[in-house]
Symmetry: C2
Subunit: 385 residues, 2 copies
Amino acid sequence: MPLENLADSVGIVIPQQIDFPEPVVLSSGRTLSALRIVYETYGTLNAARSNAVLVCHALSGHHHAAGYHSETDEKPGWWDYYIGPGKPIDTNRFFVVSLNNIGGCNGSTGPASINPETGKAWGSDFPKLRVRDWVKTQAMLMDALGIDVWAAVIGGSLGGMQAMRWCVDYPQRLRHCIAIASAMKLSAQNIAFNEIARQAITSDPDFHAGRYLEHDTSPRKGLAIARMVGHVTYLSSDAMGQKFGRDLRSGTFEPGSDASVEFQVGSYLRYQGEIFSDRFDANTYLLMTQALDYFDLAREFNDKPEQAFAKTDCQFMVISFTTDWRFSPERSREIANALIRAGRSVSYAEIDSDYGHDAFLIPIERYQKVLSAYMNSIEINGIEV
Amino acid sequence: MPLENLADSVGIVIPQQIDFPEPVVLSSGRTLSALRIVYETYGTLNAARSNAVLVCHALSGHHHAAGYHSETDEKPGWWDYYIGPGKPIDTNRFFVVSLNNIGGCNGSTGPASINPETGKAWGSDFPKLRVRDWVKTQAMLMDALGIDVWAAVIGGSLGGMQAMRWCVDYPQRLRHCIAIASAMKLSAQNIAFNEIARQAITSDPDFHAGRYLEHDTSPRKGLAIARMVGHVTYLSSDAMGQKFGRDLRSGTFEPGSDASVEFQVGSYLRYQGEIFSDRFDANTYLLMTQALDYFDLAREFNDKPEQAFAKTDCQFMVISFTTDWRFSPERSREIANALIRAGRSVSYAEIDSDYGHDAFLIPIERYQKVLSAYMNSIEINGIEV
């Protein structure tokens, strides 16, 4: 925990967990009889319970969004640039709730959890999930925490899809919806990249049809390739060029050598793939990419997103990044335009950035200012919820 | 062989092969003592030997660029839209030579050929190749065919790199250089996608460190994933959206189902991966992507491409496609600008197309007109070569 970061850090946080004894019926029709959710909170819930903000994580995220887990922890949570005292999601004002979604692999019930009916890990038997299942279980956590209405639900990428789904499924339970680098549905190209990732995982002989834990192994190589695909597509070409260029890690371009040349960018990607395989569960990756693919906000509204948004009373902030080619500004403009057609209040900001889709995780001055300004405008005093 | 296509087809062609008895020293310093090149020719070499055009293939291409191999052949060669009587590369005027590059897997000496020193397939022992090795062996074929100077060397993508390398290595042996959807060097993003493809191949347990033929197998699944990555990145997002949208092949979006949903785009990609694995050799894929990565036209010219182009006397045509994001118009403009700085004659056309990098293989009216106009302007009569 670097000392210089303490002033605007939420400090050391302790993950909490809650076990829901009642069974929950999922959108697939299947029932989870044992459900644990791991979460963290930052800041203090006020007496009116009007300052709670839900942070929804993306594909590979988890509950640890801000602060440190110990004195020796070197890296803070995944959105620490944006959550903390004086930061855009200001923990001096807001009570922030961040959870590991079900199906995840960071403590909440997921494919690596024990299926109480078999006594073995769920593996590939874990029910298929949709974004609405995460929203439903987030609402269960909300109830358990004694929160009636979120001041805001906020998320980037897949997290933004959850924020939008909140508006549809619980229109009276949030006052602000902030969707960052998101989309109302994936493009064919996005689905294609997810399909490649899934093929890499399921083609790995260590996948064992999803029952790899019973074989005391995991499809590490396939998951690493899946992560490499994700990693490349979350960056812009310019950002990769600036970071790596054509620099070599080993070998030479000089004629007269038959040795393989290794580029820095290749070495970096392989490393990122390997450390991801150490920390992530392949079945969770499959579940989450499928939920991404299936999400289509307007599907049940005659493909008219303005009808989906018509039910909600909340206000919206939509943010996109210029070089994000997986969730391009065009997708965010579609959200903003649908909200305008629905007569909703929406702020839209397109942030100049070289960092591709990953920009939503990175400190960018204008993004910080825009998000700060919006969050500061959210009323938390004198609110009856 | 569809009858309706015969009028402008080169008809049935028979692949030819040539064995070079003398050893050839490659850029790696290693020597190939047995070298076979498989090639096809279309049209007739004129008496002045001034109308020969060399077609260079891209990553997964081969010698069969035009016409049909038999009466029952359903598909013509890979560039049949552009090679034939009355077509842009008009076989009524030109004598077209198309070969399978060494290292390939369509008959020319490559990793699946027998290494005469061991009596076994070369496999991963095949020497590393660079674009200059292909140009050198293309010049050997040229000599064998009695051609002193090409009227034009033409290629798309990796083929365009070969055309440019001809200008540097044999500046007096070509009169026109046509580089389509190409680049003077790959970007970090391009290298990253190639690295993912290679990781998919080498991670496949059937790869056996490149000696899979000795194990009577091949890394089919890894090669299929490599092809899927290539396929998605050679298409534009818009083209994929138009072709597949979010259409389903199986399953349902209706709540209450736990079955996996299969999108058309995923099914299509898997199929493309599988048929590619049937026809292509994984070691060739590794070699060719490495040659792509290594290529850097200006590396030995102080990173100044105008110095590389300064030696040549030929004229240039550079073509790019608006939605090509792997070899973007910016890369082609860099070629054209370097040629202008070198005082060379260059025509540049940026073609509107939805089809991404694959556009160079597809019939597009303006592309056909531009290429026809340029090819028609090439003198073949009264030329002393």
